[in-house]
Amino acid sequence: MRVEYVTSNIAIAEGAMASGLRFFAGYPITPTSDILEYLAEELPKRGGVVIQLEDEIASINAVIGASWAGAKAMTATSGPGYSLMVEALSFAIITETPLVVVYVMRAGPSTGVPTRSCQYDVFQVRYGSHGNYELPVLVPWSAQEAFDLTVKAFNVSEMLRVPTVILSDAMLAHTWEKVIIRNPSELEIVNRRKPEVPPQEYMPFKPGEDLVPPMACFGDGYKVMVESLTHDERGYYSPTTEVQERMIRRLVEKVRRNSHLIVDYETYFTSSAEYMFFAYGSTARSVYALVRELRREGIRAGLYRPKTLWPFDEGGLKKVASKAKRVFVVENNVGLMYKEVARVLRDKEVISVGIIDLDVPSPDRIKEVISEWL
């Protein structure tokens, strides 16, 4: 264990190395490039490989290949790059390839303001690919949590054989904070389950009880078929409704049924809160400051802060919000996660506080918007 003063980007790189990262491919993009630069310096010292490829499409496809060759693998990008990656992400989903994507949000649409912050992509990250699937998305609010959730992202992706995304933003990316960087021996590290049967009996897509198939990698002698077409348990193309339904339902169910291993949240003063705030990522930092200010003024405010956006934790939210009179969903966009919160808390008064700010919406600005509701 050591304590360092780092940014979230560097904390993510450190978290990945602590998790056993062995391959990283990326393409430069603000505000993410320093993850590539930092790893280019550090990872080879620990026996890993880092390569800057010709684009984000190449990067994610190489990461999928590396994962099948047995390596823990990661790439990092921002909105424009993620848009290029979504086709291959869908390929990683159908082939159940463990890998981690770091998505540092910057203001869009299009090239937007590359250096500045937003929370516009909370739906794109989850629904950007074609197909019907679940995709875990973890959303840190500090450099320390960026480290911790990166370790978790690798564990989730290895455990469930599903690509997993760390969703950060430009503000967090370059804010320096104190971070406890733990050694692998001080962390719980999960590795993909290997087959326990001989090659003749092995089927690469036959799940265990947890709905996750054990994974043989290239060179293990199992002669696996990694298939982007709809496939049966052998990995053989089967264009029938029966196989399609079985495959889609399992891909979705393995994440949903194991969602207790993924979802997590934190609360502040919610047990006695009349006004509950829902906020995530960098915006939650301002909301936290505001909630404390309101408490000092005698207003019973509280904060529910999800550390994971997807799968959406309906149970956790319902439980925490049960006593709240009013719920404010504060985000640096025009109101996106609000739709999920309003859906889940349909018998409550849920108010969207969407603020567009190239930094983080300030506590004062949020207060201004919500004061008429208090």
Partner: protein, 275 residues
């Protein structure tokens, strides 16, 4: 109905439970596949590579479908992205022998950027591009390799574009081995693939092929044998042709042979993963 099958010497490298394959009668892809398997088989029997270390990566297309039938670790990846997938495999585990198979659209059209950069890096993988001069799987549309003037479903007035000379492109980027073969000369496909697999760095074999169904049909030669003979008439074999002879033109024909054969350090050596 019970069907009896004789054992073929290459059966051990084929997922025979998946036969029959999907290719049309008279398609050239099967010729490439068997020549490639003979080359791989020779390398295995000579102790130069272990069977379990071979990885075959295809993108999407009739050619890339080879990955479904081959009895190795195989990948049926996404259209155009077989090369970066292969790059990730190789860098994560350098002891694997990684072979990319794909059509001209897969490799040089949508995947052209990756081809260029893998060649430039002298990345230690082998790419076998089956060039049937058309997008076959999707029904006979224009490919970047379709010769000027020929008809496809998307160039009903004849192709107004100049085709890409992939041999010249890959050679210009510094790949260690670049050969052009043709399904009309299967023994040469085997020789070139065998050599390509033995070399460090980026190795590339283009194989001119026949697609009677989607290429022949639209240029007016739907009969498989006739199309094969037409291509055969256009192919000249030369042991060590110069790059000036790599011209790519339906009228003047095609020179097949080994265009580049050199031993520059491959990418793995450059980053110290191969000593």
């Amino acid at each position: 109905m019970a069907v009896s099958r004789q054992v073929h010497p290459l059966d051990k490298y084929v997922r025979v439970d998946r036969l029959p394959h999907l290719w049309c009668p008279g398609c050239g892809i099967g010729i490439v596949m068997s020549a490639m398997l003979r080359a791989i088989g020779r390398r295995i029997s000579e102790g130069l590579v272990r069977e379990e270390n071979i990885v075959i990566v295809g993108g999407i297309g009739c050619t890339a479908r080879m990955s479904l039938y081959l009895n190795f670790d195989t990948v049926h990846a996404i259209h155009g992205r077989a090369i970066p997938f292969a790059v990730g495999v190789k860098l994560a585990n350098p002891k694997l022998k990684v072979i990319v198979v794909g059509g001209d659209g897969d490799i040089a059209g949508i995947g052209g950027n990756h081809l260029m950069h893998a060649a430039r890096r002298n990345m230690d993988i082998t790419v076998i591009m089956v060039n049937n001069m058309v997008y076959a799987m999707t029904g006979g549309q224009l490919a970047p390799t379709t010769p000027t003037g020929l008809y496809t479903t998307t160039t009903p007035r004849g192709n107004p574009e100049k085709p890409i000379n992939v041999v010249k492109l890959v050679a210009s980027l510094g790949a260690n081995y670049v050969a052009r073969a043709s399904v009309t000369h299967p023994a040469l496909i085997e020789t070139y693939v065998y050599r390509a697999l033995g070399k460090e760095g980026f190795t590339f074999v283009e194989v001119l092929s026949t697609c009677p169904e989607m290429f022949g049909r639209h240029i007016g030669i739907k009969d498989a044998v006739q199309l094969f003979m037409e291509l055969r008439g256009k192919v000249k074999v030369k042991a060590k042709p110069s790059l000036n002879e790599s011209y790519y033109d339906w009228e003047s024909g095609f020179v097949i042979g080994e265009y580049v054969d050199k031993d520059d350090p491959g990418y793995l050596r450059m980053i110290g993963l191969l000593r």
